[in-house]
């Protein structure tokens, strides 16, 4: 087999040589001809005013010329194929300019199109501007998530300009090829991030934006690292070391579309300052081995390898960059009765005890959480006499996820709702206690009783409601107090190291 291939190569080579000789001989039928021009550009997604290297593969017969002339439908392109993308105009208006710390949120069925509407997802509108400019976009339906840190946006929703690059053969101007490059509103760096959630992951370059809000006009996070989530059609491809960190492998990529992600982006305002922390400052380059995954990568063409990234270059929680209201957030949503509500609205209020509208009071119980170790961000929930020290509050979880059927006795629903609980007696009223903990896993503060109710999820889903306080499902050995738990409560999330008047330093949850 190998021998035959070599023979074939030799034969091809000789034909080529013969053809070349014929060409130079000047015989009419042997004159050099161009058969095709193929163009590719790397990367095919660039920032506003960014650049991409385009190359042309010219095929032909005879002693044809591979020379091409380059043209671009927008921006400019050099004689060597380096595209400089045009500046992209934003469709939005800058936020800021006021003093408000209140940003409206809504729990609705999510951005269209969707196969079926979202439930228990809190959305807000975020304004992003190319740093230092008034070139902005207002992006609606960005999920508000206290279970992650940093702003991430689906590439496809960003204001952009499509540039068609054409290479035309200088020898035969009827032969040309094209490639498409998308220029996007925000500048992009060469660093890409693999961001893994419990049930999926996203991949894409780190860009920069001035982040502001139409509602919370007092808050701005200038020149902030932001992840731009790309689909698999956009280079570079997801490294296997990223996809294998997800139980569903390649199918876990949620970045393919707005529908796949269920939101136009995600605003992580959780209890940590950055999305990775010290690990990515020191271990980023030695990553890739077992249980030492890569988070940030530098990519050259399609090859990506792990890299170290300083804390202020990581995708960080934009709240820490605000002027005054920078120690955490308060989420307020109205009470939702059994059976659910449709499209309730509430507030994402920035800061804790920094203004008259975000005061932590004695009525709020406080749950300290460690900032390092394998229980980072977790407190202790005790249920039926058993303690679960990896429990947490997370607005980005769309139910109350706790334990399993064998522990709770609550059956899961019939297909297609197996990931949800359908109790035999609905509503099913339950109690637990929540208590803070330190990094050694010892309880801190009182164990405070908490009541919650679980209803039949299939029945809930048969309504047109979008918000459910009683929606629940199974989990590992822990309680994930998701958005179900937020309704009717003042939910505070204090950031690691933040100073909060009259309270311990963050991180902690309080409600």
């Amino acid at each position: 087999m190998i021998v035959r291939k070599i023979a074939l190569l030799l034969a091809t080579g000789s034909i080529f040589v013969l053809g070349a000789c014929g060409g130079s001989g000047g015989g009419g039928s042997n004159s050099p001809t161009i058969t095709s021009v193929n163009v590719s550009c790397t990367p095919n997604l660039v920032g506003s005013g960014g650049s991409a290297q385009c190359s042309a593969a010219v095929s032909g017969t005879g002693s044809f010329s591979t020379a091409v002339t380059w043209t671009a439908s927008a921006g400019s392109i050099s004689s060597s194929g380096v595209l400089t993308a045009p500046a992209v105009a934003g469709t939005g208006t800058p936020g800021g300019g006021g003093t408000s710390n209140v940003q409206p949120i809504v729990v609705d069925s999510g951005p269209q199109p969707q196969t079926f509407g979202a439930v228990n997802v809190a959305y807000t509108t975020v304004t992003v501007c190319a740093p230092g400019t008034n070139n902005c976009q207002n992006i609606d339906h960005v999920q508000v998530d206290t279970g992650s840190e940093g702003l991430r946006l689906i590439a496809g929703v960003l204001d952009s300009a499509s540039v068609t690059v054409t290479a035309t053969s200088t020898q035969d101007m009827t032969k040309s090829g094209t490639a498409s490059v998308t220029a996007t509103l925000l500048p992009l760096s060469s660093v890409n991030e693999c961001l893994v959630f419990a049930d999926g992951y996203v991949w894409g370059p780190v860009g920069a934006a001035d982040i502001s809000f139409a509602g919370a006009t007092g808050e701005t996070s200038p020149s902030t690292p932001v992840q731009i989530i790309i689909p698999s059609s956009v280079a570079p491809a997801v490294p296997s070391s990223c996809s294998s960190q997800n139980p569903s492998g390649g199918a876990g990529n949620e970045g393919g579309s707005v529908m796949a992600f269920g939101a136009n982006g995600i605003l992580g305002v959780g209890p940590f300052q950055t999305d990775c922390g010290g690990y990515c400052v020191q271990e980023g380059m030695s990553c890739g081995s077992s249980n030492q995954p890569c988070v940030y990568y530098t990519c050259s063409g399609s090859t990506c390898s792990g890299t170290n990234v300083a804390l202020n270059q990581q995708v960080f929680n934009p709240v820490i960059a605000f002027g005054i209201d920078n120690n955490g957030v308060l989420i307020q949503l109205p009470s939702v009765p059994n059976g659910g509500s449709q499209n309730p609205t509430g507030s994402l209020i920035f800061g804790i005890s920094t203004q008259s509208n975000n005061k932590l009071t004695l009525a709020n119980n406080l749950y300290q959480i460690p900032d390092t170790g394998n229980n980072a961000g977790d407190f202790i929930t005790t249920f039926n006499g058993q303690s679960y020290s990896q429990s947490f509050i997370d607005s980005g979880s769309n139910g109350l996820f706790f334990l399993d059927t064998s522990t709770t006795g609550i059956p899961t629903c019939a297909s297609p709702n197996q990931p949800w609980y359908c109790p035999n007696t609905s509503p099913d009223s339950l109690t637990a206690t929540n208590q803070g903990q330190n990094s050694s896993g010892q309880g801190v503060g009182p164990a405070v009783p908490v009541s919650f109710t679980v209803e039949d999820a299939t029945t809930l889903f048969s309504t047109n409601n979008t918000a459910f306080s009683t929606l629940a499902g199974p989990n590992a050995g822990a309680f994930d107090w998701g958005l179900s738990f937020f309704y009717g409560r003042n939910m505070f999330t204090a950031i690691d190291g933040a100073i909060v008047s009259g309270a311990p330093n963050g991180p902690f949850f309080a409600y």
């Binding site: 196969t115 079926f116 509407g117 979202a118 997802v121 279970g147 992650s148 840190e149 893994v196 419990a198 049930d199 296997s240 070391s241 294998s244 960190q245 139980p247 569903s248 492998g249 199918a251 876990g252 269920g262 992580g268 959780g270 940590f272 922390g277 690990y279 077992s290 249980n291 030492q292 995954p293 170790g373 394998n374 980072a376 961000g377 977790d378 990896q390 947490f392 997370d394 980005g396 769309n398 139910g399 996820f401 399993d404 064998s406 522990t407 297909s415 297609p416 709702n417 197996q418 990931p419 949800w420 889903f461 048969s462 499902g473 199974p474 989990n475 590992a476 050995g477 822990a478 994930d480």
Partner: protein
């Protein structure tokens, strides 16, 4: 002695070559369903410390990596790994940890997703990963900075051991 020797020696060479190929292709972890003796390989790969504890009805091998991440492998009295649990800042490499069950898991999740989409009335669950199939159960909970979870093969869990022991 002399004549028969050559054949086994050649055979040994081939076996060695075969073993080498296997070693190159083998998953990095002992993985679900494998023999417990491979735990040592995992320990080496994680550059971790190993603690072995005899429990009621099973043996627990806990590997702690220098990063603080932990993997626990649950071995039956007959030496088969019937469950794994993990915790750390990041999820583990599932391809390595689940071995041959990784593909099965992906198929199960794809089926679950398409069934939900086909029904047109099942909203997406966002939060902990939860997959329950007759041959494999996997759950993973957590949030940025802290993940933990477990996976087990129900058929391989020894009598008297509860799935909730795998944690």
């Amino acid at each position: 002695m002399k004549l028969p020797d050559t054949a086994p020696a050649q055979k040994q060479k081939w076996m060695l070559a075969g073993a080498l190929v296997l070693a190159l292709c083998a998953p990095a972890f002992a993985a679900l369903g494998d023999n417990a003796s491979s735990v040592l390989t995992d320990q080496a790969r994680m550059k971790g410390t190993l603690r072995q504890t005899d429990k009621q009805g099973y043996v627990l091998h806990e590997i702690a990596a220098p990063t603080g991440a932990k993997v626990r492998e649950y071995a039956s009295p007959s030496g088969v790994i019937f469950g794994v649990a993990w915790e750390g800042q990041f999820p583990p490499n599932f391809q390595e940890l689940l071995g041959p069950y990784y593909q099965q898991l992906q198929n199960a999740i794809a089926q679950q997703k398409s069934a939900a989409e086909a029904s047109g009335q099942a909203p997406r669950r966002r939060g902990p990963a939860y997959v329950e199939t007759p041959g494999l159960v996997l759950v993973q909970t957590g949030h940025m900075h802290s993940f933990h979870g477990q996976a087990y093969i129900p058929q391989l869990v020894p009598t008297g051991v509860q799935p909730s022991d795998i944690r």
